[in-house]
Amino acid sequence: MENNSEKIIVNNLDLYYGKKAALDNINLSILSNKVTALIGPSGCGKSTFLRCLNRMNDLIPGVLIKGTVLINGRDIYESSVDVVSLRKKVGMIFQKSNPFPKSIFENVAYAPRVNGINNKKELFEIVEKSLRKAALWEEVKDNLDKSGLSISGGQQQRLCIARSLAVEPDILLMDEPASALDPISTSKIEDLIFELKANYTIVIVTHNMQQAARVSDKTAFFYMGELIEVGDTKMMFTQPTNKRTEDYVSGRFG
């Protein structure tokens, strides 16, 4: 089911921390059911940009954002937009896996409970479905009462993905989701991302260029708060048009 519609359209986005510009005039379209990787050296603004897409930057005092971010055709920075329901549509996975110190079941059931679902049977169905989608069900199905912190790092990160999926978002934002994991766990997360894109639009920030190459369809290269180049991942890694992109993907700086 190929669907090349534009899920997220970012126009002239600027972001300031106080007076310091962290993002400068970003224009980027993100296609649905594709994996878009944001790459660039540390401090280039890729994570900051990612956090603009579910308004997590709102939590930081002194941040000023200009420009528009259209998701499903609607500007999420419009004053009438409810941030809480926006975040239900746009899930986020963090760099460090951060399960709640609750059972595996309660971790996944957290968001449904917040949304007022209390029926045990209904919750169980959501939990099973979400854990299956996150390719974790077979590993934890007999230990749903165990603490979410008792499983391995890679499993914890997949638990966090399952927890996000339980809200039934359309978009998943991932902020270096495998940077703290060993290669095998990383590989599992990457496989999962590859599978999830059938049903979700995924934007992933990674400082690992090879990871961007392995998992993404589109790659956007950020440098010093600017979007330098964006294109098909295959093109970005074989014949980038910008010299800085070429230098970065070939490991000559950063």
Binding site: S187, E190, D191, F194, E195, Q210, A213, R214, V215, T233, K234, F237, T238
Partner: protein, 230 residues
Amino acid sequence: MVQKHFGQELDQLKNSLTQMTSLVTSQITMAAEALEKGDLELCRVVKSRDKEIDAYENLIQAQCENLFALFQPVATDLRYIMSAMMVNNQLERCGDIAVNIVQRAQKTADHRQLIVKSQILDMLRAAQSMTLDAISAFLHNDVDLARKVIAQDDVVDNFNKQIFNDLVERMKKDPQVVEPGAHLIVLTRQIERMADHSTNIAEDVVFLVEAQIVAHRELSAGSEKPSATS
């Protein structure tokens, strides 16, 4: 366990290679038949289909480049994609040779007696079976078959010398034979090169499976390393 995305891309490459090999196989088979029967229609078919092989060569080249750029393959995967690139190249040349064969076949269609007498068809059959075996060895990772192909190269070389001498003798005796004879000598060179390409493919198979470089055996391991340039 191969990563899913990598596995998928690798499968696409294998798929392209399978298509490419079956195209080349059918081109060579048709070329041989065209030469044997002097079938000019078949000659035109072979010529027109060469573009397809060229398109596949480009596709496979791009697929290999992507696999290198996106997945940084190592070990078996690395050798597989390297040998896929090399085999791709050899296959395309075999395709070109099929075209060359039918070109000569068109020009010598009136001298079928000469063709039959000069053992060229036997040589072509030997080379053709080498090519088919090499392709089969590549598709099935069959080292034994590959080694058989490498050993057969001498047979074709011997045919080449014999036919050359035979044709020269015939041309000395009869000036009428000079023109077709010259065409046929060029043709044997082509067939001999097809056998060489098949041998190269077979050597790539040994490299792929056993990680051994068998080409240029006279440079036995370690004895004559090229001096480092820098």
